[in-house]
């Protein structure tokens, strides 16, 4: 190479190539896949466990397949969030609240369905409570991280941009 050589991609072109990973749509899709997959799996399992009588083989198979389908989406969403899509501090706060809302809604729905059927699906409610707890931890962590960054921003003498 000679000393005057320069990158072929300008800063703008480079940013354009990074754009697919930074799109809001991509991040929303990743979080939605994770949350919907987990919520769906918990809901289907909750329904299954709250059945008052033993189910026929085909129904059990259908419940099992639905659960596997939801878990596959959850795994895909988890992989996207962990490896492919950058979730910045503000995104994490929003994502954590979405997760908490989804977990709380699904747990409440399971409890409601069980009450309608006159059963108490203890395992499903325990799992639901665990998910709500995990989502709460995510909310707290996301807020702490964002607060720490904002604090550091103030220490460095800058105000956050809108």
């Amino acid at each position: 190479m000679n000393g005057d050589e320069e990158p072929r991609l300008s800063a703008r072109e480079l940013l354009e190539r990074l754009e697919p990973s930074l799109r809001v749509r991509t991040r929303v899709r990743a979080v939605a896949a994770l949350v919907a997959g987990l919520a769906g799996a918990v809901f289907v399992l909750g329904l299954w466990w709250s059945e008052p009588a033993p189910l026929p083989g085909r129904t059990r198979l259908a419940f099992g397949l639905l659960t596997a389908f939801c878990l596959a989406w959850a795994c895909y969403g988890g992989w996207l969030v962990r490896r492919r899509v950058p979730l910045f501090a503000t995104d994490r706060v929003i994502a954590a609240w979405i997760a908490l809302a989804a977990c709380a809604s699904v747990t409440a729905l399971i409890a409601f369905v069980a009450a309608q059927r006159g059963t108490v699906p203890v395992p499903a409610l325990v799992v639901g409570a665990l998910f709500v707890g995990a989502a709460l931890v995510l909310v707290v962590r996301a807020h702490r991280r964002r607060a720490a960054l904002l604090r550091r921003l103030r220490e460095l003498g800058s105000e956050p941009q809108p």
């Binding site: 190479m1 005057d4 990158p7 072929r8 940013l15 990074l18 930074l22 950058p86 460095l156 003498g157």
Partner: protein
Amino acid sequence: MSDELLIVRAQLGERAALAELVARWRVPVWTYVRRMLDAERADDVSQEIWLAVVRGLPRLREPERFAPWLFTIARRSITDRLRGQYAREQETLTPAGNTFTGDTFTEDQVEAMVDRAVLVEALARLPLPEREVLVLHYLEDLPVADCAHICQVPAGTIKSRLSRARRLLRTCLEEGDRS
């Protein structure tokens, strides 16, 4: 605006800060990659590096140590591309733990002796481990401790590689003068 401030703002999700960060570090990253790879691969690998940087930026816990973190990612991408070739280079070279003494040849003297094009051409002829430390230490201006962190070797090894690299570079330049 300092790098740390830019990184904190980018970690909060500010796109303008991320764009500024890319604009600021695009050429240093590409220069490092280009010293290690040919032009064709340098652009591809630089793009891969920036993708990894963007994906990993939210998890960077020490914004003040952005440069070593960035060059660690760059080095990993380069190593992935060069794995086979890099391994062969290391096998054929003297073990990195050896030290070289009595070497007083400095970068300033090199710059005084040759113009930039000749220096870069000589640099391209050095073995990869030595070329890498010269680029990181002198061209990217990183301290020995950061070079050691990036290359995942002790600081003493970096010093001995630098010493060997300067010696090899001097030999290359002297051969160039004679021819």
